[in-house]
């Protein structure tokens, strides 16, 4: 009896594995097995063919351009989203004002959107007969911004719209976790606002900035709904992979493109985690 009681205190929920097993099995079947299927389809069981297939995505000018477009767009949009959202996120975290909850809710709405909806909104606002050109026509007599949705700036704005909630909410949480006393202490010691931001706030925020960049980057890289709606000439790799898979039945080629996208996203998020870990160690 005593030994049983002792065991229970030490092991109150039984084997942890039993509770985790159903989720683990699901992930094995719905994530690991599909990923293995991608690798198998790209390689046909031959490592040489695998490398050729992966290299083909890079050497083929069409897919390389699509990949380059996506990388540049995702990096630019992520950087812009972070810069644009940093001051409002600080405000939301630090100040209590009327309508704060409503503002956060409004900013979080695009979280539920797919890229397709964002693409449609871009057309509605900046299409050839969009709302912005219509208003500009009435005000200034010229349809400013007409058709912008279909050009690169429109695509950039659409992706930015998509990333605003992710950046704002993640950065707001980071500001909320930030120790306000540190800033106050630096102020008492005579540090100016710029110095305090550079030496106190920024280092403390670095892990969150890196994590936010990684998230917005991989979301942008993998999303293709907006590009599907908006761009005729400007292609991104997921659209190419989709077409390769559905229209041409090229499983190997589509899998190779999917592996590129997944590989880059995983690398970026692992690198961000590494860098933020060293950042936290440094501040300690």
């Amino acid at each position: 009896m005593i030994s049983r009681g002792g065991k229970r205190a030490d092991d109150p929920i039984g084997p942890t594995a039993a509770w985790i097993a159903p989720a683990a099995l699901f992930l094995l079947l719905a994530f690991v097995a599909p990923f293995a299927a991608l690798l198998r389809a790209a390689s046909h069981g031959d490592p040489g063919a695998f490398l050729r297939e992966l290299g083909g995505v890079w050497t083929h000018p069409h897919t390389r351009r699509a990949l380059g477009n996506g990388l540049a767009l995702s990096a630019g949009v992520s950087a812009a989203a972070i810069l644009l959202c940093l001051p409002p996120a600080r405000l939301l975290a630090r100040s209590r004002f009327r309508g704060r909850g409503a503002a956060r809710l409004l900013l979080s709405i695009p979280l539920a959107f797919s890229g397709v909806i964002v693409g449609f909104l871009a057309v509605v606002m900046l299409g050839r007969v969009g709302f912005v050109p219509a208003v500009a026509q009435a005000l200034f007599g010229r349809p400013l911004g007409a058709g912008l949705a279909y050009a690169l700036p429109g695509l950039f704005l659409a992706y930015l719209f998509f990333e605003i909630p992710r950046a704002v909410l993640a950065l707001e949480a980071a500001f909320a976790r930030l120790d306000a006393e540190l800033d106050a202490a630096a102020r008492t010691l005579g540090a100016g606002p710029v110095q305090r931001f550079a030496r106190v706030t920024l280092p403390a925020l670095r892990p969150a900035l890196l994590a936010t960049f990684a998230t917005t980057f991989s979301v942008s890289l993998g999303s293709y709904g907006a590009a599907l709606i908006l761009s005729r000439r400007f292609s991104v790799l997921p659209v190419e992979a989709y077409q390769e898979f559905t229209a041409f039945g090229n499983d190997a080629g589509a899998s190779a493109m999917a592996i590129w996208l997944a590989g880059i996203s995983i690398l970026v998020s692992v690198a961000a985690r590494r860098a933020s870990r060293t950042a936290t160690e440094e501040t300690r």
Partner: protein
């Protein structure tokens, strides 16, 4: 003195930027919702009026006659994903909150891994791995769940990590409660806010999911976001606007409720893929 005026300037700039972001998000939504009920010419948007819709009293009933089935399927699928996320995720969150052996650590990493993998890659992988499951919609549900599960587990786990769950359980164990009884009587009630937040996130993810669904769905399983793609590419503006408004009618309340019950969880939602 200089510092105070600088502070005021910085707050004003941040407030201006916040207003700009709010305007950027609100303006297109307002135009679309207005466009679904008003004459689009009032918005300066009309280029065509499609007579086919005029048999219906509102654009909404026209959209429902065209895509009502997609809407119902999306709702059913989202509820299904919520239920599965609960069945798999609640025990997993409980197990992970207690002990971190090698197996638990591996599962925790595996759980978050899909967030760094594009939906299209998962979709192609699922199709290649289970080519015959597509017609039933099983791979579609699995693809949604892969992305919903990490959020559910994290939300439920956070609710469990704060309180004194181990002590309460031990007390219950001394009183003779079995493992299952403790799980249903103590753990689940304590985790309820987290479970509710996780359920809302799972619903929202599934309701708006396109990256996985576009490839995995068939004409008989395709969901409302795919229908939205159809309206954007084939229907006129008022129809597309009404369809988008119907989409918002479920998404916005879910997000509002999420923020009301768990604003820190809502913040973590920023990591959604």
């Amino acid at each position: 003195m200089r510092s105070a005026s600088w502070e005021r300037l910085r707050s004003a700039a941040a407030a201006a930027l916040l207003l700009l972001l709010l305007a950027v998000v609100a303006a297109p939504l307002a135009v679309v919702v207005a466009g679904s009920v008003l004459d689009p010419r009032l918005l300066g948007l009309t280029s065509e009026t499609w007579e086919a819709g005029s048999r219906h009293s509102t654009w909404f009933s026209y959209v429902l006659s065209l895509y009502g089935r997609h809407l119902a399927r999306s709702a059913a699928l989202a509820l299904c994903v919520v239920a599965l996320a609960f069945l798999l995720g609640a025990p997993a969150a409980y197990g992970l909150s207690r002990r971190r052996d090698a197996f638990a650590r591996t599962v925790a990493v595996l759980l978050d891994a899909p967030l760094a993998v594009p939906g299209l890659a998962v979709a192609i992988g699922l199709l290649l791995a289970y080519p015959r499951a597509r017609a039933s919609g099983a791979t579609l549900a699995a693809g949604h769940l892969v992305y919903a599960l990490p959020f559910f587990v994290r939300a439920a786990g956070n609710a469990l990590s704060g309180g004194n769950v181990p002590e309460l359980e031990e007390a219950a164990a001394v009183s003779g409660a079995g493992r299952w009884q403790r799980f249903t009587r103590i753990v689940l009630p304590l985790a309820r806010p987290g479970i509710l937040a996780g359920a809302l996130m799972a619903f929202t993810i599934s309701w708006g999911e396109f990256n996985v669904s576009f490839l995995l769905s068939t004409p008989t399983t395709s969901t409302f976001p795919s229908a939205l793609y159809l309206t954007y590419t084939t229907n006129s503006f008022p129809v597309a606007a009404a369809a988008t408004t119907l989409f918002l009618a479920a998404a916005v309340p879910a997000l509002a409720l999420l923020q009301r019950i768990a604003s820190p969880e809502a913040a973590r939602f920023g990591e959604a893929a």
